[in-house]
């Protein structure tokens, strides 16, 4: 697949005096893409530019080979959009709403209706699809928003903070839905989030933004490789004592939340159990650290906010 999915060419978008995006140049191929950055980093602006809802102040974009400024309708026929904020029509039933959005996207009435049933069943709203949207909970609303974004079977879906406001279970389910859709193949996703763990194991490419500037972009595997392997330990018991004892053995630890991170020479875990045995600590978790997108983001954001990674 050589066809580019998205391409931005030194795109800058300014609102009055605020530069929401600065000189952004990326090229992404089809797949599942994580658009990651803190709030206000320009994620929503980028999505709106891709939809042709905003015009770039300078630079140019292409979505599925088309310029969203010049051919907005052709682009939007190929793209599904799930906005971050609440945007539903409370007076419609779930199925009525999704079918309606399908028809506005150009589906004939019958097709729209049968697809609305299908996608609502898929997002887990089979039972509630005839109820009015105003009675839906936060999680159900989020699912309806996803359903309306995929009802017209677009090859590209832009999902803006799909896990926003959901509890862990709801988040897992929402991400599970996206994973299931992307496994089907043939469809690309851009998933924007400020919760970095959301993207783990789900996306194959990332685009990291901070304050409107590109931190890094490209395949996850490439970005995550290239660091000394660490081991993660979780200890129950006298943690400071454990750390001190380990340090006496010449192994330095880094504390991250409730976890300890160490670099073990040649991956030998024995010192850990020895120290645990001495200090009476329990080894509740032991395993190699997987370098996460969160680590990557934090280290890149600290290192050089202005520098564009390869």
């Amino acid at each position: 697949m050589t066809d580019g999915l998205l391409r931005t060419d030194s795109v800058t978008k300014r609102f009055d005096t605020v530069e929401a995006l600065s000189n952004l140049s990326v090229e992404l191929s089809p797949g599942t893409i994580g658009l990651v950055g803190p709030n206000g980093s320009g994620k929503t602006t980028l999505l709106r530019l891709l939809l042709g809802l905003l015009a770039p102040t300078s630079g140019s974009l292409s979505v599925l080979g088309r310029d969203p400024q010049r051919e907005p309708l052709l682009v939007r026929e190929q793209v599904g959009y799930m906005p971050e904020h609440d945007c539903l029509m409370p007076d419609l039933s779930g199925v009525g709403f999704v079918a309606y959005m399908g028809r506005v996207s150009g589906l004939p009435r019958e097709t729209a209706m049968s697809r609305a049933h299908e996608v609502l069943e898929f997002v887990g709203l089979k039972e509630q699809r005839y109820r009015k949207i105003r009675e839906y909970s936060v999680g159900m609303r989020q699912r309806v928003k996803l359903a309306q974004a995929i009802v017209h079977d677009p090859p590209l879906c832009l999902l803006d903070e799909p896990t926003s406001g959901l509890d862990p279970e709801g988040r897992e389910e929402m991400l599970g839905l996206v994973a299931a859709l992307s496994r089907l193949g043939g469809r690309s996703f851009v998933l924007s989030t400020h919760l970095l763990p959301d993207t783990e194991g789900l996306v194959d490419q990332v685009l990291l933004l901070n304050a409107g500037k590109l931190l890094a972009a490209g395949p996850v595997a490439r970005l995550l490789s290239s660091r000394t392997p660490e081991t993660v330990i979780r200890i129950r018991g006298d943690v400071p004592g454990f750390v001190a004892a380990l340090s006496r053995k010449g192994v330095e630890t880094r504390t991250q939340g409730s976890e300890l991170r160490v670099v073990l020479p040649s991956g030998d875990t024995r010192p850990i159990f020895e120290v645990a045995n001495e200090t009476g600590g329990q080894v509740r978790y032991l395993g190699p650290s997987v370098r996460t997108i969160e680590d990557l983001f934090l280290s890149l954001a600290e290192e050089a906010p202005d520098q564009v990674a390869p």
């Binding site: 309708l73 609440d86 409370p90 506005v104 299908e118 859709l181």
Partner: protein, 275 residues
């Protein structure tokens, strides 16, 4: 939760065109307005206008003096402007305001339609309701008159033409006004207050000014005055209205279009915000 992915039917379907998409929006907007309130107001309009029309025609037919002017009687009642205002408020005030208020405007704009399609659809829905309320009752009354044989069919036909002409004009003006005021707020009822306030102020102010100053062109500023002037002329009455009916008609139509364009301008700026 079991996950079974959507299959999306068998073959890719042929997409419908923009007109069809706009019609879908119009249809939904029309249905959304068919709540109890609107239906009650429109029913009231039908009852009031149809009754006044048939009762007056029946009296006139007793004395054998049914003319085109007889059919104009509903417009002479002070209730008529109020009815039009209430209908315009209940079918038009929410059109854009509610979509901006619950932010579903974002969904419309992210679909393969243009803003103009969306606005045209909204106008069509509001306009259809207004036509139903402004043209329908007159025609219904005339149908009764025709069935009961109180007036010759040629006269009834001319009367019908007059109702259609004035009703369409009222529809153009109030649709534009409702859209414009609806685009200024996120709450339908504020738009409703504004519709009442603007039209009633003009209705009181314009004749006053033109009466005192003798400057008849000021009277064109009152839409109700314009509508009544057009109606009287359409029904063949050389009435008390000092305005030229043709000019009044042009003023109404142009201001309706102007308001609609203004609404479009407002909506085109609604979404242009940062995160």
């Amino acid at each position: 939760m079991s996950i079974s992915a959507p299959r999306y039917g068998a073959a890719p379907v042929a997409k419908t065109g923009r007109i069809h998409r706009a019609l879908t929006i119009a249809h939904r907007e029309f249905n959304r307005r068919s709540g109890v309130g609107t239906v009650a107001v429109v029913t009231l309009t039908y009852l009031a206008i149809t009754l006044v029309l048939t009762i007056n025609t029946s009296f006139a037919s007793l004395t054998g003096t049914v003319t085109l002017a007889t059919f104009e009687t509903p417009y002479s009642s002070p209730a008529w402007p109020f009815l039009m205002l209430i209908v315009a408020t209940s079918v038009g005030a929410g059109g854009l305001a509610e979509d901006v208020g619950n932010r579903s405007i974002t969904l419309y704009l992210s679909r393969p339609i243009r803003l103009i399609d969306y606005l045209a659809a909204k106008s069509a829905a509001t306009g259809t309701w207004l036509v139903i309320a402004a043209v329908g009752p007159g025609l219904a009354g005339l149908a009764v008159v025709l069935v009961l044989g109180w007036a010759p069919s040629s006269l009834v036909l001319t009367g019908a033409g007059a109702f259609v002409a004035t009703g369409l004009l009222a529809c153009i003006f109030f649709t534009g006004l409702a859209l414009a005021l609806s685009s200024l707020t996120t709450r339908a009822l504020y738009a409703g207050v504004a519709i009442f306030g603007v039209v009633l102020s003009l209705e009181i102010g314009a004749p006053l000014v033109s009466g005192i100053t003798g400057n008849t062109s000021v009277a064109y500023a009152s839409p109700i005055n314009d509508l009544l002037s057009v109606a009287q002329s359409a029904f063949g009455i050389s009435g008390p209205y000092a305005t030229d009916p043709a000019t009044s008609a042009v003023v109404l139509a142009l201001s309706g279009v102007f308001f609609a364009v203004f609404a479009g301008w407002r909506m085109s700026r609604v979404e242009v915000v940062g995160e």
